[in-house]
């Protein structure tokens, strides 16, 4: 694996060489002419597979780069736009991710970077026929959105997830100028919502929309314009409206678009019924293709049942905006026999989770979010017994995100015994440093059980009172682990050393508030080039330790974020990532690249 990584880097360096000048080495080893190779390779979509293909030989490298249509860049600073466009001449779709994940929780200062504009200006010249852009945790300004709208005449799909820096004015530009728009997916962004009139900017001639998601915006849109838009876009399959859309309006929209496969409702209750509930129920019954329902804000026992007729074929139900109680969830789930993914609030309680175990045997993914994350006393929520109940009834469960206030080692061991197929195990015990509440021991054995029992584990988030033993287990057993999140855990440098010494597949490691210091950091010297990134904040790192790392590993960017309050010698927030683009040229003053 390491050998391959080295080859990747070398191959990247070859990019600056003009391919025409390189003597064509189609050798007896590689008898296929490009005309054959390229169409075959064009059937390969996974970027990991394409990466492997490109390493076979120079011919395959060239054939792959000419046939690639979609490029995925997991860290926008790992490569420069110039290098990307130099290597791949015919890209139609770009996925770009920016800030470290902990920026979702306010740990990354504003103006840190990940501005999409420099990318757009290069992409506009190289890929004027770009069709899709998917951005996650990027800084996106209205100017960038306007530039996008004006410079890419074939543009079809825009997806913005956890981005910030733009307002609804930027959306206006997209709606107005993108004549072929098929997808507008705006999720969870730090957006300045100046009003809903952006929606009215879609021209009457636009009929190509397939995906429209504005659920996370707050302002009211013009309902007439929305209804007309939905009516004329016959291929619309995903519609997720915001909370301002009421039930009557939703009903009208559903009657116009019974072909929807994914629906996000608006507010799902009414004070005044202007149409009987039976009508609404019938409308849901007429939507035969629904696979996903989300939204359902404010719903209650009176209105939630109207979706029952659509539930039998649902595969994903997102109730994370609906504070349901256990019996409401239970009554609903009886109808949801095909469910594979379920997101709920912890208001459903352990009893609600028992219903999940009883009625959803095909369940693969469960996420339980806290309704009241900052309330520390008198909280109900879910406990270990709900977790166990789900695992008993849902043997196919492989993805869990579980927020709770208490847990036991025994319960977690039982859960993974029932569901050994876990690929993603994210447990968040919300009280800091909370031990097993029955035995009062650390939660080491819980995560030990997870890594021992689940050979396919790719992603792990740990919590509770944890000693270095947890990390010893992880380093030793988690052979397929790619992403690890650690907070307020561990006792000494050993913890991090164990992880860095094991976990051969580790790609992303994010750590906050742990007693890991320079020795631990430096123990992973050779590992960081095989990883996408490492984040460490509020640990025991010093500037000197980071400088040593930076000196030893010139192909890493070792960035320290300075904070007014911390001492000069402390490295308070450290972000380390491999890159072929060298140090950032756009770093703000508080980011020091060592």
């Amino acid at each position: 694996m390491d050998l391959n990584q080295k080859r990747t880097r070398m191959v990247d360096r070859v990019d600056s060489v003009d391919p025409d000048l390189v003597s064509p080495e189609s050798t007896p080893m590689c008898p296929f002419p490009d005309e054959v190779l390229e169409p075959v390779l064009s059937l390969i979509n996974s970027h990991k597979d394409r990466s492997s293909v490109s390493l076979v030989c120079k011919d395959w490298y060239n054939a792959e780069r000419w046939s690639r249509r979609h490029v995925f860049i997991g860290n926008c600073y790992s490569v420069s736009p110039e290098i990307v466009v130099g290597r791949f001449p015919k890209i139609r779709s770009v996925t770009l991710k920016g800030k470290p994940r902990f920026s979702d929780f306010n740990l990354v200062p504003e103006d840190w970077g990940a501005d999409v504009y420099p990318w757009l200006s290069v992409l506009a010249k190289a890929y004027p026929f770009l069709e899709e852009l998917r951005l996650k945790r990027m800084a996106v300004s209205d100017e960038s959105l306007e530039f996008l709208a004006m410079n890419f005449p074939e543009f079809k799909a825009l997806s913005l997830l956890s981005c910030d820096g733009f307002s609804t004015d930027g959306l206006k530009a997209i709606a107005t100028h993108c004549r072929n728009l098929a997808e507008l997916d705006i999720q969870e962004n730090g957006i300045d919502d100046l009003g809903g009139d952006w929606l009215s900017c879609f021209p009457e001639t636009l009929t190509t929309l397939q995906v429209l998601n504005f659920a996370s915006l707050n302002s009211e849109v013009n309902f007439n314009d929305l209804e007309k838009l939905v009516t004329r876009c016959k291929s619309l399959r995903v519609l997720k409206v915001n909370r301002t859309i009421n039930l009557d309006q939703l009903q009208k929209l559903l009657l116009r678009a019974p072909q929807l496969t994914e629906l996000g409702t608006g507010t799902f209750t009414q004070d005044l019924v202007t149409r009987p509930v039976a009508d609404l129920e019938a409308t849901f019954g007429s939507c035969k293709n629904l696979l996903t329902i989300s939204g359902l804000w404010d719903t209650n026992s009176l209105y939630l049942p109207v979706i029952y007729p659509a539930c039998a074929s649902l595969t994903f139900l997102n109730l994370s905006c609906a504070a349901l109680r256990s019996f409401e969830l239970a009554m609903l789930l009886i109808h949801c026999k095909s469910l594979r993914r379920l997101w709920v609030l912890d208001t459903v309680g352990d009893m609600g989770l028992e219903a999940v175990g009883s009625w959803c045997p095909l369940l693969e993914e469960l996420r339980v979010f806290p309704a009241d994350p900052f309330e520390q006393e008198n909280v109900a929520g879910v406990t270990e017994s709900g977790f166990v109940a789900v695992s008993r009834g849902c043997p196919k469960l492989h993805y869990v995100l579980y927020f709770c206030h208490q847990m036991t080692n025994a319960a977690v061991a039982t859960v993974v015994q029932n569901c050994p197929g876990f690929t993603h195990f994210r447990l968040c015990i919300m009280n800091l440093g909370q031990p097993d509440y029955v035995t009062n021991e650390p939660m080491d054995e819980a995560f030990g059980a997870v890594v021992r029992t689940c050979p396919n584990l790719q992603r792990l988030a740990v919590s509770g009172l944890l000693t270095d033993l947890t990390f010893e287990y992880i380093g030793k057993y988690a052979k397929n682990l790619e992403i690890l999140s650690v907070a307020f855990a561990g006792s000494s440098d050993l913890g991090l050393k164990y992880v860095l010494g094991g976990c051969p597949r580790l790609r992303k490691l994010e750590i906050r508030d742990c007693p890991f210091g320079n020795a631990a950091l430096l123990s992973g010297l050779t590992k960081y080039e095989s990883m996408r990134s490492l984040w460490m904040s509020a640990c025991n790192l010093t500037m000197n330790g980071c400088r040593v790392l930076a000196k030893e590993m010139p192909r890493l960017n070792v960035e320290v974020m300075k904070d007014e309050d911390s001492e000069d010698s402390q490295a308070h927030k450290v972000y380390i990532y491999r890159t072929v683009a060298g140090p950032r040229r756009d770093a703000p003053p508080f980011v020091l690249t060592l």
Binding site: F102, D104, F105, N106, L107, P109, E110, S162, E188, S216, D271, L272, V273, T274, W297, D298, S320, C321, A323, F369, P370, A371, D372, P373, F374, Q376, F403, C428, M430, N431, L432, G433, Q434, E441, P442, L465, T467, D468, S485, A487, F488, A489, G490, S491, R512, D513, P515, G517, S537, A538, N540, D563, E564, D565, S566, E567, Q570, H572, F590
Partner: protein
């Protein structure tokens, strides 16, 4: 670690026995302070108690278990907003509930007047609740043509026809509602 010690010094008034510890189990019970945030508004603030802790922060100190740490629990801010809106709505729900009786109905209902902004909305609500038809109120004719007439008892204990006074005045004086059959109601509206 240097600034942990300084933090401990600053917080030596706290009962350390109740602090959470990151030490190994079985080690002596020297608790360490859970890192706590400074001002919650400062996005660049240290997650750890800083050695340059200001007076303001010292006076705001409360036991770490209750202190909110920046970015913990790891819940996205848009989720917090959803839930906050929910909370305010239920806090506002100390509504204005009045009893509503309907002639001929075996039991009474309760209605939150705050849910309505006008007589029209109230009538609609009543109609749904009792599955009756009240119709519109005409100033000269009263509820002519309808089977039922809404009346209310005001602060003085008098039974009044719904609709005469401005809405705001109505909801502040209405103590209970009664939906009368129109044959009985005759005489209330006639002048």
């Amino acid at each position: 670690m240097d600034h942990k010690k300084t933090t401990l010094d600053l917080f030596n008034n706290v009962d350390l026995a109740t602090e959470l510890t990151l030490g190994l189990p079985g080690t002596d019970n020297q608790p360490e302070i859970i890192k706590s945030s400074l001002s919650g508004n400062k996005r660049t603030s240290s997650e750890m108690g800083s050695s340059t802790c200001t007076d303001e922060n010292e006076s705001r100190f409360s036991p770490p278990t209750k202190e909110q740490v920046v970015g913990w629990p790891p819940v996205r801010s848009y989720r917090k907003n959803i839930l906050q809106v929910k909370k305010t709505e239920s806090e506002m729900g100390s509504g204005m509930y009045v009893k509503v009786s309907m002639d001929g109905a075996p039991y009474l209902r309760k209605l939150d007047l705050k849910m309505y902004q006008s007589y029209e909305e109230l009538m609609k609500g009543l109609q749904v609740m009792f599955k009756c038809i009240i119709g519109l109120y005409f100033e000269r004719e009263g509820y002519n043509g309808s089977q039922h007439v809404p009346t209310y008892e005001d602060k003085d204990g008098d039974w009044m026809l719904v609709g005469d006074v401005p809405w705001e005045m109505f909801i502040s004086s209405c103590k209970r509602l009664r939906i009368m059959k129109s044959c009985e109601a005759r005489g209330l509206g006639d002048c």
